[in-house]
Symmetry: C2
Subunit: 389 residues, 2 copies
């Protein structure tokens, strides 16, 4: 029975946080009170207007396939959104509705990446992205980043890292795990660099709705020759609906369409009808309320972690993560996370889920729970630190 | 701008039927009455009990991620289904809930297929399957099949076609486009052959709920060492819900789980809750009613096509397709389908969507519309044939 597994499987690692999550659930079954700050999933429900739109559609019972590219009306709404939000005109033919950002990455990388070609990514970054690359037998060149550059790639870093087999760059802003955003000028220069190198620029913008002090800048503001990945999941508490979108350069429209036809036929129809309501006033107001709530949570958690002695190179500007340096307490953040869970029932994610760049000294805290719960978590963390090391 | 497209895209063809479908829609806009017999999507809605289960869940607004492997309760229901339907015991850990059969194929082939490895498939067969293989830079060896073997592969054909780089076999029963099923003994011997050759056996069983005269036989009745792909889409009119499942050999559980975590995180949560109701009495009764209705449609269409002079090597036993030989009327079934659409407003699928094995003489008729409408289509077809050729 050997040799039947695809070679790529040896290189695709599971999320380390999953073993923690499993242990957390065991502890909960034993009656322990666990505070979850490990999960990248907002704690608010889908807005009522979106729920209603989804139910109104399902009620008719006629949940059939949509075109592979998505419901035409939803593609139009996305196009309008780019006009209103960023002042850019995107032809609706370039917009593909996908089963979450995951589906968008599948399409974008499937249409571009040959075996043994490389993509550049920051380290730390979201682990799935490099696993998509492995799925297509490509390779990832991780470029260490740090707080000096907001944990983001720069045009210089891209040029310095570019190899003959480099196909492109994945940039994520706000970043998971750091919550930092790329400066508009750096984004512009990075896109220019990739265009000059005749590569593909993939911009992961799934947390664009959750930026607290500044304004989000889309890669589309600087070039039509980019792939943009976005999603309803994080902004609208719609993780379980599995719906997002991909915008492709014009020359990739036909390829993306036939790939979508083949690899998922279409995105869930009821999710697409529900998502139509996401662009209306009621859901947009809800998003704004949540953004304000998350901004408060960020400020609270950032201050508390600083007070406890964690170091953050720069203040995160978006998403719902703080990437904290725990070198003062431990050289093994994975063990630290395990010990914190066992002793105090607080679940966080170890740095090694996001790369190897000083991962042993980093922890990701997700502020996807209320300030009250986080306050309790910080009290427990303080107790934990008193005895630790 | 050359060289950025992945090489695989040149080998992935769009569905030819899509150009027909597009033309059919244009004609409909012009006011023409089109009868759709090209679409592989049943015309009945999702059963009320399933709709209700989905809505009851969504109403709570808490549509969050499930585990990557699927809702534990749904996996248990699927396991029970195998016990009841086929008398086989399948550990629920081997069952993965997927975004349709498409998601199941993505996982199964992603976990097994290396670049340049081959899979064997019958010609004709469902075109997406070989496109999944191309997605992973594998190759398909098409084995011509005909009515003598129910348009299915045999153990002998598998052994004869096996190469040093052959990884396995995809078998689909009932088959799309032929509607024919594999005999239990042939299935058993084919699995044995693949096991002896240390390959992977993939059994596409998505039409198992729609078999008219015989009893469905699952690959799992003969071996635990098989991949089984199934779906709620066709049986329950749930195409737009995007939900199916994959059963893997025990040694692939861990790999499949980490692949699912990475490539789609999870299947739509509301679709999973809805699908729970598919195994209850009400939806099962509805399935039985539909099976009987489709059986009548098959008999009607089969007789009519025979009367008109089309030849079918054997009577289809399942799914909702008849694969008819039109050699008597044309040597170009693609042109035939176009002409029929233009002149008489009947849409069918040309053989070239399913392979190259005498495809120019074949047409797929889908009986996914009422007998009344099909009767009208047959009248039009008769008129069309009078002047044709």
């Amino acid at each position: 029975m050997t040799g039947r597994m695809a070679d790529r499987m040896a290189e695709i690692s599971p999320f380390y946080v999953m073993t923690l999550l499993q242990r957390a659930k065991e502890l909960e079954k034993q009656g322990r009170d666990i505070i979850h700050m490990e999960i990248g999933e907002p704690d608010f429900p889908t807005p009522a207007a979106i729920v209603k739109a989804g139910m109104d559609f399902i009620q008719k019972g006629d949940v059939k396939y949509t075109p592979a590219s998505g419901l035409p009306l939803l593609r139009e709404k996305v196009a309008e959104f780019y006009q209103q939000q960023y002042g850019v005109k995107v032809a609706k033919e370039r917009i593909f509705i996908t089963p979450g950002a995951s589906g968008a990455f599948l399409l974008a990388l499937g249409a571009t990446l040959n075996p043994n070609e490389e993509l550049l990514m920051s380290d730390p970054c979201y682990p799935c992205n490099s696993n998509f690359v492995r799925l297509f037998n490509g390779k990832t060149r991780f470029v260490p980043v740090n707080a000096d550059n907001d944990y983001q790639l720069t045009a210089q870093a891209i040029r310095d890292s570019w190899q003959s087999n480099t196909k492109g760059v994945i940039c994520a802003s706000p970043s998971n795990p750091t919550g930092t955003i790329i400066k508009a000028e750096v984004l512009k220069q990075s896109i220019e660099a990739v265009n000059e190198l005749n590569g593909c620029f993939f911009s992961d913008e799934i947390y664009h709705g959750l930026i607290y002090d500044e304004k989000a800048t889309s890669a589309l503001e600087f070039s039509d020759d980019v792939f943009v990945i976005n999603s309803f999941s994080k902004n609208f508490g719609m993780t379980g609906w599995r719906i997002g979108w991909l915008i492709v350069p014009e020359e990739f429209i036909e390829a993306t369409n036939k790939l979508a036809q083949n690899i998922f036929i279409a995105t869930s129809t009821h999710s697409q009808y529900a998502a139509l309501a996401a662009f209306e006033a009621e859901a947009q107001q809800e998003l704004e309320n949540r953004r304000q709530e998350l901004s408060k949570r960020r400020d609270f958690l950032y201050q508390k972690l600083q007070d406890l002695g964690f170091e953050m190179g720069c203040k995160p500007q978006g998403a719902f993560y703080i990437y904290a340096n725990c070198a003062k307490f431990s050289d093994d953040s994975f063990q630290f996370a395990h010990d914190l869970l066992e002793k105090e029932g607080v679940a966080i994610t170890p740095g090694k889920d996001f790369g190897t760049n000083d991962a042993c000294h980093h922890l990701r805290f997700a502020y996807t729970t209320s300030i009250n719960k986080m306050a309790e978590a910080m009290t427990r963390l303080e107790t934990f630190l008193e005895d630790y090391k």
